[in-house]
Structures are given as structure tokens and as C-alpha cells.
Amino acid sequence: MDDPLLQMSAITKSFGGIPALQDAMLTIAPGEVHSIVGQNGAGKSTLIKILTGVYRRDSGTVCWQGRDVDLRSPREAQEAGIATIYQELTLVPQRTVIENIVLGYEPRTRLGLIDWRVAEARTRTVLDRFGIDLDPHRALGSYPTAIQQLVAIGRAASMDAKLLIMDEPTSSLDEREVEVLFGVIRQLKAQGTSVIYVSHLLDEIFEICDVVTILRDGRTVGAARIAELTKLDLIAGMLGRSAEEIRKAGMTELAGSPRREGGAAVLKATGLSTDRRLRKLDLTLRAGEIVGLAGLLGSGRTEAARAIFGMDRLSGGQILIDGVPAAITSPRAAIAAGLAFLSEDRKTEGIIPDLSVRENLTLALLPRLSRMGVVDTTRERTIVAGFIKALGIKAAHMDQPIRELSGGNQQKVLLGRWLAIEPRLLILDEPTRGVDVGAKREIQAIIRERVEQGCAVLLISSEFEELIEGANDIVVMQEGRSISRLSNPGVTEDQLIHAMAAGPSAGGAA
């Protein structure tokens, strides 16, 4: 190609000794829509933050418009002509739409003061481009997320950038809005602006992007023109799958005894929906069985778990426990009904950092461990010692503050928190994420043990082997709906990938 607009080569970056990028590469031509794909932890977000000046690379080169650059702050990146729309909202909801669109680049009058009239005119131009009709004098936060997202995109698009980076831009947009967005992207392309499009929604990538770069485990494993690939190729590249690898890869510890027949349903969910992206979920969980929830990022799996555990209010549908309608209005009520939930984000929803391993482990069990308000510490220590042994938790002693433990061991403590209350239904959201290989297998073995003892498990996992080998049924989700169900024995990885890539019409009914 002629001179590329951007060329990033041999980029490395580590955080506290843990490598996030090991050999990442990215080449973008002018007027190109370029997609970056990869699973969680592959390094997409880190690479982008290096490009936009939020992080500084450890080594490698960044060549922008033909010159080597070192962008050290978001402002420098913006001034260089790189505009970004992050996935988490990076606008200010308390401020009006107009303010957000021009923030940092407000037009001035001759006196040097902000000229709000020009700002409003600029805003109207942006809004018209996106076909949005709203009152720009109202606070951004008073509009739904979809509108806020479009405003963020509009802001970036209006900044005369040479490169526009969009991170999951359509996560809250409906079909019409997505079309509008694509129209804008095509316009930008026509005028020579390039777009980096980060998304997990493969259909969109195939519709709007020209080129794709695949990241895996911190490395660029491939770059190709979209026209030359199929969806399966793409997923396979993201996951690093090939027939040989599947055969060689270690099995999980989740494989279990043959399926129990006719176990009573512990929990049955029909038509569940919430205000938070869950549209329609049907699920049946039986004692002694694992039901896996599969789907790409953003398909609504965590939202499903939250709905069942009482964290989000149901806007529709029903939950039956042991055949009886149950109103689970809070986690406290869920726990009383025999449910447990291991969240995927242990930092914000799991560990109490200053408390010890022991105190963290017994947090949900306390009511049963106390008499008249006083905790029976002897019994507590015995129980905790038992779990430390059974789960293989590596800690200096049970009174060590949990924040000093490694991620894997923290995860084990949290798992212990939930196992300790002896739940009938255990909901696990990415239980082995961010955990080293050895601990992974130990956790899997513990889960299997519990299941054999009669616990029902809802397992959300992005790791295919866990679902394929461990689950009795796998429910596939897409955009907040359960779209198909695969039953073991006999599920293969290919089948699962097909089911995930396909639309709601394919596959069996849930």
C-alpha cells in the first residue's frame, strides 16, 4: 500500500510484571475501516490506550503519518488527529449535550469567551448528521444510553480527526441507529478518515470493515482483508483453534458422570427480561447438573445471572423455585432461597480488600455462624481451615489480608464464600478467569465435586472446554436472548461455535 497512516510494530507493555502485549502490530491505511478483534485479555484495549496516549509503551515503535511519535497524554493524541470513543462512557452526564460535544474545544468569541451560539450551531450540525432530534440544552444523562453513545460518536467525528477509534460503539444502539452510524463511517471513509472499529459483533465487522487485525494473548496473530475471510476463520483465529490444538489441549476437570435423568428442576426461568439488556431468557436448572451459558461478550450472560440472583429488577418473566413462583428481590433474598453467585469482577463485587481471608470466606455464612450476634470463631476457623485445604488456597495464614493474595487464590476464597453456605444453586460467572492453569483445574475439580453432591450449577464461561466438557446443557445467548440449546453428550466445539455465530433462527429452541 501507499504510505500507511499508522504503523505500530513490536509493541510490548507489562503491568506489574504481567505482560499485556508481547508483540503487537497494527497497520492502517488512510480511508480504511479497520477492525481489531480478540477475546478478553487479548490486549485490544491496551493497544488502543497506548495509541491514544493513556498508557506508554514499554518498547516498539509507533509511526504516525510517516513519523515516529511518542504520545504521552490523551491531549497529545487528540492534537495529533486521533479521536477516541471509549466503551465506558467518557462524557459528562451532568452536562448538556452541547457542552459535551464541544468540551475542550469550545468556539470562542473575539473576547476569548466561549461562544455558545456557535457551539449550538456546531451541535445541530452533528446531530443532523446522525439524524438525532433532541433538545441539546438538556443534560446528556437525561437521555438513554443509546443517544449518549451517538453523541459521543458525534463528538469524535466532528473533531477533524484523521483516525477515529470506536470501542464497542453499537453496544446500546438499535438497528436503525447502527445503520446511521455506518452511514457516518462511510462518509468519513470517503473523506479519507480512517476508523478503528473494535467490536465483538462479527456481523457488523463483516458489514462495515475493510481489514481486520486479530490479537491473541498479547500478540498480533494475523491481519487480513475481510473479503478474504469467513466468520469461522475469524473466530478460530481469535480463539487460536485448529484441529490439532483441540486434540492436544488439556481437558478440563469438569467432565463428569453421565447425565442424571429426570432430576427435579431447582430453578426454572421463563421469559426473563430486565431493564438492563436482558430481553428474553429461558433456562432450567436441575440438581446435580451443570447448565452452561455461552455467548460472545455483550450477549447478556452476566445480566441473566444478575436477574436470577435478584440484583436487577425483572421487567418481565417469571422464576420458579421447586415449582413455586419466587419473588427474589435482593441478593439477601436469593441467598435465603438457597442461591449463590460468584461475580466475574472480583475487585469491585467480590473481595473486601482490607479484611482477612477468613473474614472474606465466611461473609455470607455469618448468620449461621453466630449465636446471639457473636461469631463462633472456633467453628469459623475450623470451617475456613477446611476450605483452605480443600480449595488449595495459598495464603500465609487465614488472617492474611485478602488483597495480598494472588488473583487465583482470591478467586478461590470467593468460591469458598459461596460453597460455604451450601447452596442448592451455584451461579458462577467466569470462575476461572484471570487464574493460573493449576488453580484453574483445582477450581474446576471442586465445582465438579459439588455437582456430584447434588448442587445445581449455572456456569458462565468464555472457555469452550469448560462448557463442552462440563455442562449437561449449554444455552447460547445473543443480544440478551437465549437463542438455542445444545445438549451433552455429543456437543463439539464446532457445533458450539456455529451456534454462537448463527442468528436466533438457527439451532434448537431454548
Binding site: V92, G104, L113, M311
Partner: protein, 319 residues
């Protein structure tokens, strides 16, 4: 959210107008030149401190030092009063700016939590004031022109102090509404992370608000000395909380990201007005509300405002 904020701001103006009308209709001397000028003169100090506090709160922070810094400034100004207004006024304000710089250094520089940092400054300022004044009130030099500021009015109606405050209010208002510094102040309070990612000069804005608040406190201290004839090292206790209350009543949220300087002024005046009206009512003899009841009423007033704001915020809140 916009609905809440403009409703919150509008409410304070409505309340202010209603109370003013009430006063005019009910009490003979309410609308007199004397009442107006003494009311404005007394409240000019609280208004200017509230403006400074408003800016700090817009960034999501807080400034507990304004009361004692005002006391310190009053002592400084009184001590320098023999040299006249031209020296004593800037000196007092400078004392405030210095305290503000100390706050800014701890908060924007050392990243200490604003509550604790300004608490420390509050104590230090008190100590400084006592030190400089040798533990007593410092009488001003009446022969210089120092007291001219605090004791004189325009057309026998508007005290000069309130006019100075008006200038400060307008300046603050313009900064917030029409400069990128002001927009950055609001952005920090709304979403500090986003503000940084958008490339805004967040540190500069943080430093600005604390120094500005200190300057406002300094100015209030000069008014105190000039209006009452003495620098008072022990005055100022509780002023910071009165300022916070004025900001809250004016509809600015403590969480930051939004707010209105004029509404804060209205809030400060409103609190003062409640006092003023109670005095009049007392004078009529229909009730005999001792001074003690006044603080109870203020507290009740704040409670009502908070409950209303909590109710208004309900529909917008989401888990």
C-alpha cells in the same frame, strides 16, 4: 437530570421572592433602606464565601477552611489597616489566597482527600490567626481609610461590600459559563476520569477552585474587619457549613458536576432572609423566638430542602 438541576435552581429563586414579598407585606420596616443595607452588608461575607465554596463543590470537593481563613484574613487586614485600604485589602485577600494555595497543594498535588486537607488548613489558619493577633481582637486603625469599605454605602442604600461581592459573583459566573477553565471545573465533578481522557487541564482547574475559594474567604475577612472595626481571630466558626448549606439549598449537588453560582447566592441570601424575617416577627411580638430557635429553624429549613431534593432525584436514580 437537567430537570432536577433547573428545578432545584428555580426553586430557590421562587422561595427567595416569596419570602421577600412576605416580608414586604407583613412588616412595616422590612422594605426600608436601613433594613436592606444592613441585611446586604451583613450577608456580603456569607455570599462571597458561598461563591467560593460553590466552585469547589462543583469539582466534587469541599473546603472546610473558609471560616478560619476569613478570620485570619481579618486579623491580617486589621494589622495592616494603618496603611489604608490600598494595602490592607490586598493583604487580606492574599492571606486567603495563600491558604487556598496550601489546600491546592495538598489536594491537587499530594492527592489528599479534600475533607482532611482543608480540615488541616482550617486548624492551621486558626492557629495563625491567634498567633498574629496575640490571642485578642485587633482593633483597626480608625484614622486610616480602612473602614471606609465596610461602613459606607452607595446612595445610602447599597453597601460597597455587596458591590464588590457582586463583581466577584459576576466574575465567577462568567468563568464557569464562558471559559474552558470553568467547563473543566464542571467536567471534573461530573466525571473526572472522562475529563482527563478528553485532554482537559484538570489539575489547573483543581488548583484554581481552591485558590479562588481561599481568596473569597480572604475577602470576607477583610469585610469583617472593615465592617466591624476589628480583626477577629475566633470568628468564622461554622461559616464553612453555612456556605455548604447555601450551596445545597441553591440546588448544587455535593457530588459535583453541576451547579449555579447565582442560585448559590440566592441560597445564601435565603438563609439570611429567614433570620431577618424571624427578627421582624420577634419584633412584632406575635412570637418570641429567641436566637436559639433561629438555628433550629435553619436546620429544619435545610431538612426540608434535602427531603425535597431527595424526592426530586428519585425518578432519575437507577441502581
Amino acid at each position: 437530570m437537567q430537570r432536577l438541576s433547573s428545578q432545584g435552581h428555580a426553586a430557590v429563586w421562587v422561595a427567595l421572592i416569596v419570602l421577600i414579598l412576605f416580608g414586604v407585606l407583613r412588616y412595616d420596616n422590612f422594605a426600608s433602606a436601613y433594613n436592606l443595607s444592613s441585611f446586604l452588608g451583613y450577608n456580603s461575607m456569607f455570599v462571597v464565601i458561598s461563591v467560593g465554596m460553590c466552585l469547589v463543590i462543583m469539582t466534587g470537593g469541599i473546603d472546610l477552611s473558609v471560616g478560619t481563613v476569613a478570620a485570619l484574613a481579618s486579623v491580617v487586614a486589621a494589622l495592616l489597616s494603618p496603611m489604608g485600604l490600598v494595602v490592607a485589602l490586598p493583604a487580606g485577600v492574599a492571606a486567603g489566597l495563600a491558604a487556598g494555595a496550601l489546600n491546592a497543594g495538598m489536594i491537587a498535588g499530594l492527592r489528599l482527600p479534600p475533607f482532611m486537607a482543608t480540615l488541616a488548613t482550617m486548624l492551621a489558619a486558626k492557629g495563625g490567626a491567634l498567633r498574629l493577633s496575640n490571642n485578642r481582637t485587633v482593633p483597626v486603625d480608625w484614622s486610616s481609610n480602612f473602614t471606609w469599605l465596610g461602613m459606607n454605602k452607595v446612595a445610602n442604600l447599597l453597601p460597597w461590600t455587596i458591590l464588590v461581592v457582586l463583581v466577584v459573583v459576576v466574575v465567577a459566573w462568567v468563568i464557569i459559563a464562558r471559559t474552558s477553565l470553568g467547563r473543566t471545573v464542571l467536567a471534573i465533578g461530573g466525571n473526572a476520569e472522562a475529563a482527563h481522557l478528553m485532554g482537559l487541564k484538570t489539575r489547573r482547574a483543581e488548583v484554581f477552585v481552591y485558590v479562588f475559594s481561599g481568596g473569597c474567604a480572604g475577602l470576607a475577612g477583610v469585610f469583617l474587619a472593615s465592617g466591624y472595626g476589628a480583626g477577629q481571630p475566633l470568628e468564622g466558626a461554622g461559616w464553612e457549613l453555612a456556605a455548604i448549606a447555601a450551596v445545597v439549598v441553591g440546588g448544587t449537588l455535593l457530588t459535583g458536576g453541576m451547579g449555579s453560582v447565582p442560585a448559590t447566592v440566592a441560597g445564601a441570601l435565603l438563609f439570611g432572609l429567614v433570620f431577618n424575617l424571624l427578627n421582624f416577627e420577634n419584633g412584632r411580638g406575635t412570637i418570641s423566638l429567641s436566637a436559639n430557635w433561629q438555628s433550629v429553624i435553619r436546620g429544619l429549613f435545610l431538612l426540608i430542602v434535602i427531603l425535597l431534593q431527595a424526592r426530586l432525584a428519585r425518578p432519575a436514580a437507577r441502581t
